[in-house]
Symmetry: C2
């Protein structure tokens, strides 16, 4: 099979298309399938972008990023996690997505492998395949809070494995890895001679808990993060990756060639975003309220939430009590109840037909209506 044929589409896109058709026919659809903040970018960031537009600087930045943003992030790491990171280790990328292209291009040789959790962020395995590598999808369960553990890593690591990826909080499960386990995971990766890649894009979107940066436990962890989620800046395509000194040179060469640079205006906007803590706290509180509501309502409807999700804006629910085919279940829910949620198959294959993902990046009123609709649909369906 050619590599390109191994790249799966997001299955939820078909569902989304159908949702749009229904909307075009005049139906109201409740969107709980989308992994994107419903909030617009904070006003202070918009103003900073306008000021940057007026400055006339729309040129390429250095490939590794605007040094002012690198420096601002370095200071931010000190305040946020108490870790000192030299600015030149912080490479600015076109989205966190760009960071992944960069890292795998830099680390992987054809046939080398990377450990991923199943379920996990679906693009990961495709980034790895496109870099000529092999994704090793390791089933994870409530036992490890749906995360890779040191034990799993030690067990599945093989010759040619170069890294393990932890997404913390996780997409799709919203769960945090246990702090002690994160340290052990970092130790294992180092001992095995590879890298821990910590995807921290949902940091800051946590409720009653704080996610730890992998750099608190290991100097040579690779940290991937970005402005899309916490700062509600998806369309700006701006992220970063922190690499050990030994990788800076190779990364710079790759960046010069494949990106030239990240978007200039977004880099200015990002500098301002780092100071927008009040504005982002408002969003976090809103997510938290929606989350509490769903955590209390969904189980009553038959959705089992086995590990409490303390982060991101996702709830990964076991639907075994309701169906043994989560895909058809989601399609039915869309067609019959007008509620869009994502079937487990988009995040892996391990017990995926027993799971669905709810996103609460949707207003509370819509979420309430969604729950009502699901309740009505299920009570009819089971009568």
């Amino acid at each position: 099979m050619r590599r390109i044929d191994q790249i799966e589409p997001f299955r939820v896109m078909q569902l989304l298309e159908r949702a749009k058709e229904l909307e075009a026919e005049g139906q109201k659809i409740i969107h709980m399938e989308i992994g994107e903040p419903d909030f617009p970018t904070p006003p202070s960031v918009i103003e900073a972008a306008k000021a940057a537009l007026d400055s006339g600087d729309n040129y390429y930045t250095p490939s590794t990023g605007n040094p002012k943003l690198q420096k601002a992030l370095s200071q931010w790491y000190l305040g946020e996690y108490g870790v000192a990171v030299a600015p030149e280790r912080i490479l600015i990328t076109p989205g966190t997505s760009g960071a992944f292209s960069l890292i795998y291009a830099t680390l992987l040789e054809a046939g080398e492998s990377v450990l991923l959790s199943d379920p996990g962020y679906p693009c990961q395995r495709n980034f790895i395949r496109l870099a000529g590598g092999e994704p090793l999808n390791i089933p994870v369960s409530p036992e490890t809070r749906y995360h890779l553990s040191a034990g799993l890593i030690e067990h599945h690591w093989k010759a040619g494995t170069r890294a393990a990826v932890v997404i913390n909080p996780s997409n799709p499960t919203g769960t945090l890895i246990d702090d002690g386990e994160l340290k052990k995971v970092a130790d294992s990766c180092r001992r095995l001679g590879g890298y821990l890649i910590s995807d921290e894009i949902y940091h800051g979107l946590t409720y009653g808990a704080k996610a730890r940066c992998a750099l608190e436990f290991s100097d040579d962890a690779i940290i991937v993060n970005g402005f899309s989620k916490r700062w509600a800046m998806t369309g700006w395509r701006i992220g970063w990756v922190i690499v050990p000194d030994s990788l800076i040179d190779a990364c710079r060469r790759v960046m010069q060639n494949i990106f030239i640079a990240a978007p200039t205006l977004s880099q200015y906007a990002a500098i301002r975003a780092l100071a927008a803590s009040d504005e982002i706290e408002v969003m976090r509180r809103a997510y938290d309220e929606r989350r509490s509501y769903l955590l209390s309502e969904l189980p009553k409807l038959g959705f089992d939430i086995v590990v409490e999700p303390q982060g991101a804006f996702y709830i990964y629910a076991n639907v075994s009590r309701l169906t043994d085919d989560s895909r058809s279940f989601c399609w039915q829910m869309l067609e019959k109840a007008g509620v869009a949620i994502t079937p487990g198959e988009d995040f892996g294959s391990y017990r995926s037909d027993q799971h669905v993902r709810f996103s609460y990046a949707t207003g509370l009123e819509d979420i309430r209506e969604g729950v009502d609709r699901i309740r009505r649909y299920l009570s009819l369906a089971t009568k």
Copy 2:
């Protein structure tokens, strides 16, 4: 050798760093090494970006782009070249750079090859290597106006070759491919069962000639273009690629995974840019004036311009009369005359030590001073 070790840095970057050091010491350096418009983005585009900021839409666009931009480009192709291109064949990418990542991820299997011209745009060979492919660098000379010809393509195509790239007008030579030859090149690629990839990023920056779109000759050519050069929008990171129907699906899957989408704001700005023809014409005229000046002065100084460059903002000069080592020549020129130009080695290896590239994306006054400085330096050096 690991793949990453085959990715060369831009050598001119070291020269640029040294230039910055000299500037920090108070020296004025004349920059004729940089391949980036010196003009800021046109005011009408800046205004459109501000309006888009006010609209509150900073969300991800569909992976293949904002449909309005796809449509605007489709109409633009009709006006500009008289070719009809369905909007859904026009995929919006983060820079032309993104278009190359996309295309090679989609087309190449490990070990498959792509024909490139030597000299040529240096990132090309690295994009191909990072996709696991093999760049076949074909020496080109004044005979073919420094372009791949149908003859060269037929001669060098081998089992597993998937495409040939034409950069028209060329970076670094500024030369246009002969129209008839472009048609033959397209025919050859089709006959050989592969793709012609036409990099048209310097279209519109032509002087006394017009570059033809490869789609005028072949429906299944892959066209790569972007807003960086003609529209002076480098920092916006926005480009596009036109693919045959048969590739749309595969490209969409790759885009969903590796980009999610191109920058939203830049897409709005790009829609406006397509209507900014007066503003871009002012820039084109300025380039043309600088070009005429250099074309008349450089030969007097010993720089041989064998094929008249009719496009981009580059002049590729043979320096055999002045040196047999263009790299040291460029370094000397920087240190002794304070003029930065790019040595041939950044664009390939074929007769690279006999060539340098001048960029005239620098104000005419500076260019005049640069020429004066070079004159003085060379007359001293040869005394």
